[in-house]
């Protein structure tokens, strides 16, 4: 089983109207692997991530999750998504539900867990991100970093096989970025399969097993962090890394 890639993408194309965003992507993530996807805005990296759990429907190509072709008409998208946790740039916590209810609603409705079991799972995952004391609060009362950690705990409560992170620190104040990256680092250490679209080069360098650089709807180059960051082969990669370094 572990020889089957967690995510396997072949020749993926996606357009929004006249704008072609993905131009033939071949890409895979092994089980237990942590992949950071970097690239300038508009490079298609978020679209690629969103295709993995079919928040975007590709125009053509193949996406296999644990060997199963999820673009097959017979595929039950809801069952695929249970296996894939996703964390969003803007948190997308449910504001009308408490932190606890945010973590239990899908467990109860989708996995049919009992109230007691789902609460136990929620507590365990809140503890993992260090927010058990916020369990009764409504999301509106949390800081951005706390919201994002709750969002991570919410995704984990479904016991996913892999996690997708879509620029999860981009909307945070700089001083709150660290706590979210720490939570992700812990997950990576535990062996979670992760695909993270990110601007955090330090995170990519320290945590990722592989960095994928995208530009203009194609993968320009990929490899171990040290190789991509310190010794990029392509001019476009160098240019991007210089621009990012200047921002910091």
């Amino acid at each position: 089983m572990s020889s089957v890639p967690a995510i396997e993408i072949r020749n993926l194309f996606k357009s929004f109207g006249p704008l072609e965003v993905l131009k033939g992507i071949d890409f895979s993530v092994a089980q237990g692997e942590v992949v950071a996807v970097i690239g300038p805005s508009g490079s298609g990296k978020s679209t690629l991530l969103r295709c993995v759990n079919l928040l975007e429907t590709p125009d053509s190509g193949e996406i296999k999750i644990e060997g199963f072709n999820i673009l097959d008409p017979d595929c039950d998208v809801d069952k695929v998504r249970r296996k894939i946790g996703m964390v969003f740039q803007l948190f997308n916590l449910f504001p009308h539900l408490t932190v606890l209810e945010n973590l239990t609603i899908a467990q109860r409705k989708v996995l049919k867990r009992s109230d007691e079991e789902s609460e136990a799972v929620a507590r365990k995952n809140l503890e993992r991100v260090g927010l058990l004391n916020m369990i009764e609060r409504y999301p509106g009362l949390l800081s951005g970093g706390q919201k994002q950690r709750v969002a991570i705990a919410r995704a984990l409560s479904m016991d996913p096989d892999m996690m997708l992170f879509d620029e999860v620190t981009s909307a945070l104040d700089p001083e709150l970025v660290g706590e979210v990256l720490d939570a992700m680092r812990v997950l990576a250490d535990e062996g979670m399969t992760m695909m993270a679209v990110t601007h955090e080069m330090e995170f990519a360098r320290q945590v990722a097993d592989r960095i994928v650089f995208m530009d203009g709807g194609v993968i320009v180059e990929q490899g171990p962090p040290a190789q991509i960051i310190d010794n990029p082969q392509h001019e476009r990669t160098r240019k991007f890394l210089r621009a990012v370094a200047q921002e910091d």
């Binding site: 809801d78 998504r81 946790g85 969003f88 997308n92 449910f94 609603i105 409705k109 989708v110 919410r154």
Partner: protein
């Protein structure tokens, strides 16, 4: 070069006092030429007013509220169905709900009530057996449902798309996400407009009186009209008006308070 402000302010004060003086003169004139004893006797006659109680509350206002409550409940069910059809991916659903909403919002309520209450029974035999109460309620529900459908649709569309994506990415199905994530947030934002719709419905129940009366359909307006005829006096209209206001004004205040409250969240 900026002078002249004082003259401007004086001019404004002069205009304001002219308006005050004219208004007071007009009111004084009306008060002088009005036949007060007669007005009081025909519009605010305490004996006539007293004779209206307790029926105006226990019968008429009660029937008004029953019409409103049943009509609103039916209308809400229709509205929810139509709103969900309106945002459906299935084109036929969208067309049916759009036509429904546009037609019923485009017709005068009075015409719709007469059409359903008196017109349909002429054409369709089954309707003739239906009590006037239900004919009236159905007409009200159909129309208020069309208005509320647009309100509910707007409420659903006001929920950020990220909420839907978060629900779906957790494995909730489309309908589960609608039921547990989107609708609770949508309904919260549309409680004030729905309250306003309820207030409008309280007033619109008066139109049912055109269908004729049975004991169960004698609502406030009909009750007042009959009071006018049997007493040869207009006081019942004034009293009924006050009863309407006692129902509607508190509700509009509640709606206003809810509006500022939801605006805060």
């Amino acid at each position: 070069m900026f002078s002249g402000g004082l003259a401007k302010k004086q001019r404004q004060t002069r205009i304001r006092w002219t308006i005050y003086a004219t208004s007071i003169a007009l009111i004084a004139l009306l008060a002088f030429i009005a036949d007060w004893p007669n007005l009081q006797k025909t519009l605010a006659n305490p004996d006539v007013a007293a004779s209206l109680f307790p029926d105006i509350i226990l019968l008429a206002a009660r029937n008004t509220l029953i019409f409103t409550a049943v009509g609103f409940t039916g209308g809400f069910v229709i509205a929810m169905t139509m709103a969900l059809m309106r945002i459906s991916k299935i084109r036929v659903f969208r067309i049916v709900s759009t036509v429904y909403i546009e037609v019923l919002r485009g017709l005068p309520l009075l015409l719709t009530i007469i059409l359903i209450g008196l017109g349909l029974p002429i054409g369709i035999a089954g309707f003739r057996q239906m009590p006037i109460f239900w004919r009236g309620v159905i007409a009200l529900a159909l129309v208020t449902g069309a208005y509320m459908a647009e309100t509910i649709r707007a409420g659903i569309e006001s929920v950020p798309p990220g909420q839907n994506e978060a629900g779906r990415s957790l494995g909730l199905s489309k309908s589960q996400t609608m039921r547990w994530i989107v609708l609770p947030q949508a309904l919260r934002t549309i409680i004030p407009p729905l309250t306003n719709e309820f207030v409008i419905l309280i007033k619109d129940t008066s139109l049912i009186s055109v269908l004729g009366v049975t004991a169960s359909t004698k609502e406030l307006t009909r009750f007042a009209r009959e009071g006018v005829i049997s007493n040869a006096n207009a006081t019942p209209l004034i009293v009924a008006g006050l009863v309407y206001l006692a129902l509607t004004i508190p509700l509009t205040q509640v709606a206003r308070r809810l509006e500022t409250k939801t605006g805060r969240v």
